[in-house]
Each structure stands twice: as structure tokens, then as C-alpha cells.
């Protein structure tokens, strides 16, 4: 258990540092994608309300857009899992 010396009088084990890193990676990294998905679905709902007949087109494109936004959160997850379990 290797102690890392952070500030004067603060020592922390490397495992604890790893867990802190993993949780920060996932937590901060999912903030923006969540916002993006919320905005996207909101706009899709607006469009759907204006033109309910175009529902398949709107829905398909909405799912596509959500996939792009979610991919960013998935990158953060992969980094968090790598920090937590691989390194």
C-alpha cells in the first residue's frame, strides 16, 4: 500500500487515489451528456407537438442524436472502469 504525499500533512494510499479518480471521471463526465440528451429530447418533443404526423422521422433522428450524446458518457465510463479495475 503505497502512500502518496499530496499536501503537507496529507498522505493518501494509491488505491484511494485510484477510486477518487474513477469516481470523478464518471461523475464529471456524465454531466454534459445528460444535459445534452435532455435538451435533445426536449426539442424532439417540441417538434412532435407541432407536427405529430412526422413521428417516425422525429423519433428515429432523436434516437440517433441520443446515441451520439450518450457515447461521450460511455467514453467517461470506459476511462473510469479502466482506472478502477485495470491500472
Amino acid at each position: 500500500m503505497e502512500l502518496i504525499h499530496l499536501f503537507p500533512l496529507l498522505e493518501i494510499t494509491d488505491t484511494a487515489m485510484r477510486f477518487i479518480g474513477a469516481s470523478f471521471a464518471m461523475g464529471l463526465g456524465s454531466f454534459a451528456p445528460a444535459l445534452a440528451i435532455g435538451l435533445l429530447v426536449g426539442k424532439a418533443m417540441e417538434a412532435l407537438g407541432r407536427n405529430p404526423e412526422a413521428q417516425p422521422v422525429i423519433q428515429t433522428n432523436m434516437i440517433l442524436g441520443i446515441a451520439f450524446a450518450e457515447a461521450i458518457a460511455i467514453y467517461a465510463l470506459v476511462v473510469a472502469v479502466m482506472i478502477g479495475f485495470v491500472f
Binding site: 446515441a67 451520439f68 450518450e70 457515447a71 467514453y75 470506459v78 472502469v81
Partner: protein, 358 residues
């Protein structure tokens, strides 16, 4: 009586949750990113995801064969099911890409969709990630794992019991002559034995208990990074192929390597064109990465979620995770296929700035 029925159901669920929490929790999950090798044929390591991918391929082939064996104009049975699926995907492709290009895109897009959907759903079947061989952590064995679980031997089979103890080998050991050594795969036998003794000091390992790690025989295909990467590479190859076959090599390549105006002498416009071309190239490469990690991350996250939920509260909350995984598996397959289609459409449609100046 209706009031009591709701109450009874709620009570039954609560009892199930408590029973699962108290008696049926698995030991701490050991999450392995790399796909484990089950056996090797010469220099080729057969991993558990490879076995699963072949099972999926054989399943889809048998399904297609059964559907087209005695084809009739009015479909019935399996042919009906297959036709419904194919027709749905075909309409999607044709509505997006038009008749001419759609017929060319359709086989690739449909294959990607069916293969990825089946792969993801196969990962939810009962035998996956639970049945396998046990690699024992002992000082003599070649296989080295840092974390393990206590495995009981029940009637000749090695079984991981619920709430078994988990074992983590220490990172360093101090030898009798006060030297501190790292414990890793190429440590000596004494160092490994010392590490194992230190880790298992508080557990009483009798004759029928040993520490080891479960190597499952079957594992969901897209949890191995190689599989989504292979699919993404093929998707990129096909998209470029469609672009080149629609426009010819140089005209399609001029989307990326747009040095015409630069060489003709217009410096600023030329640099802008060249820069835009290089950005397009970088975007293509970034798409490879994003395709891979989207599919890999989603499916891996599902598997980790399963393991963690089984560790925390099995029996009832697992159903919700299961439903989400079914949904996510299908959605990710759909997204991969649709993105391939969309990028194919972009590749065969007229590039920017084609109209001006010609």
C-alpha cells in the same frame, strides 16, 4: 380483497428482496476487461467471446436456413417472422437512402443490425458468465490472478457458493530475510506462496476449498474490445467503398485531400480547403473510435451492472437491469446500423462546394 391482493404482492416482493439480500449474494465481482482465453490451438488463443461469436453466427445461419427452406409466396411460420424483420429494416434503409443506393446499402446494414442485436441478446442467456472452468491461484500454476474467490468442491464440481469469501493477493511481500518483493506473474514460487498464505490466513481452506478465478466459457461478444473495433473498421471500409464506387477514386478523395485550389495559387482559399479536407479525414478516424467505444461501453456497462447488482441485491432488481439490457442491446444494434447507413448516404451524396464553379 383487491386491497389485500396488492398488499400480498408487495409483501411477497419484499420477502424475495430480503431473501436475496441475505442468502443469495454473490462474492465481490471480479471484472475483467480482457476476454479470457479458454483454450489455445497452437499460437491462436480461443477466447470465450470468440466461441460465443461463432455460436451467434451459426444461430443466425440456421435461422435463415429454416426460414428459406420451403419458401411460399404467402409466408407462414419462421419465414413470416424473418420476412417481417427484413422488411422492417429494408423500409428503413430505402426511406433514408432512396431506391438506388438503398439496395446496395441494405445487406451490410441489415447484417450489422442482426449480428449486433443477436450478439447482445445472447449475452443475456443463463449460461453466460456463470459456467466455465476454474483457474486455481496456486504458486505452481502459470496463470496468475491478483483477485480470486473461495471455491468449494461439491460433488466433483467446483462451485462458487453465495457469499463466498473473496481473496486479494497483496502487492508486495516481505521474505524471511526482510527483502520486500513485488508479487506478479513472474515472481518466484516462494514469493507467490507467501502471498497466497498471507491472503488466505484468515480463511480455513480445507480439502474441498481452494482459491481461484472463474473463467467463463461463454461471454457476451461485444464486451471484448476487438469485436466492436472489427465491426467499426468494416463499417468504415464499406462507407469509403460506397463513396469511391459512386464517384470514382479521385473525385471522392478530393473530399479529403483538397489541394486543388492551393496548387492553383489561391493561398487563403487553398489553405482553408486543405484544412477542411484534413478535418474530414480526422472526423472519419474519430468515427472509428466513437463507434467502437459506444458499442463496447454500453455492453460492458451492462455486464458490470449485472455483476454489481448480483453482488448487492439479487433476485428482484435484476429484472429491471435485465429489461434495460434487452432494450440497450437492441438500441445499440440499431444505432450502429443506422450510423453506418447515414454515413454511407453522406458518402454517396454530393460533396460540399461541388455545385459552385463547375
Amino acid at each position: 380483497m383487491r386491497r389485500f391482493k396488492g398488499l400480498a404482492i408487495g409483501l411477497a416482493v419484499l420477502i424475495l428482496v430480503l431473501a436475496g439480500f441475505l442468502f443469495l449474494r454473490s462474492p465481490k465481482p471480479i471484472i475483467e476487461l480482457k476476454a479470457e482465453t479458454v483454450f489455445s490451438i497452437g499460437p491462436f488463443n480461443v477466447t470465450n467471446t470468440y466461441i460465443t461469436s461463432w455460436i451467434v453466427i451459426i444461430f443466425i445461419s440456421l435461422f435463415a436456413y429454416a426460414a428459406t427452406r420451403r419458401m411460399s409466396l404467402v409466408p407462414r411460420g419462421i419465414q413470416n417472422l424473418f420476412e417481417a424483420i427484413i422488411e422492417a429494416i429494408y423500409n428503413l434503409v430505402i426511406n433514408s437512402a432512396g431506391e438506388k443506393h438503398g439496395r446496395r446499402f441494405f445487406p451490410v446494414v441489415a447484417t450489422i443490425f442482426l449480428y449486433v442485436a443477436m450478439c447482445n441478446w445472447f449475452g443475456l442467456l443463463p449460461l453466460f458468465a456463470t459456467v466455465g472452468k476454474v483457474e486455481e491461484i496456486s504458486a505452481q500454476s502459470q496463470a496468475f490472478h491478483e483477485k480470486g474467490v473461495v471455491i468449494h468442491e461439491v460433488a466433483g464440481l467446483n462451485v462458487i457458493m453465495p457469499a463466498a469469501d473473496d481473496v486479494e493477493l497483496p502487492k508486495t511481500v516481505t521474505l524471511p530475510d526482510a527483502k520486500v518483493e513485488d508479487v506478479s506473474a513472474d515472481s518466484s514460487v516462494e514469493v507467490k506462496q507467501l502471498a497466497i498464505d498471507e491472503a488466505t490466513r484468515d480463511l480455513n481452506l480445507g480439502k474441498d476449498k481452494k482459491i481461484g478465478v472463474l473463467v467463463p466459457f461463454l461471454r457476451s461478444v461485444n464486451t471484448d474490445l476487438n469485436s466492436p473495433l472489427a465491426l467499426a473498421v468494416w463499417s468504415a471500409i464499406f462507407v469509403e467503398f460506397w463513396g469511391i464506387s459512386a464517384y470514382g477514386f479521385f473525385r471522392y478523395g478530393s473530399k479529403f485531400f483538397n489541394f486543388g485550389r492551393l496548387l492553383r495559387g489561391k493561398i487563403l482559399d487553398g489553405f482553408i480547403d486543405a484544412f477542411v479536407g484534413i478535418m474530414e479525414f480526422v472526423a472519419e478516424a474519430a468515427r472509428l473510435v466513437s463507434f467502437t467505444f459506444r458499442l463496447f461501453g454500453n455492453i460492458l456497462a451492462g455486464e458490470i451492472l449485472f455483476l454489481v447488482v448480483i453482488f448487492l441485491v439479487p433476485l428482484v432488481f435484476l429484472q429491471f437491469v435485465y429489461f434495460m439490457e434487452l432494450f440497450v442491446g437492441a438500441i445499440q444494434a440499431f444505432i450502429f446500423a443506422m450510423l453506418t447507413l447515414v454515413f454511407g448516404i453522406i458518402a454517396v451524396s454530393a460533396p460540399h462546394g461541388e455545385a459552385e464553379g463547375h
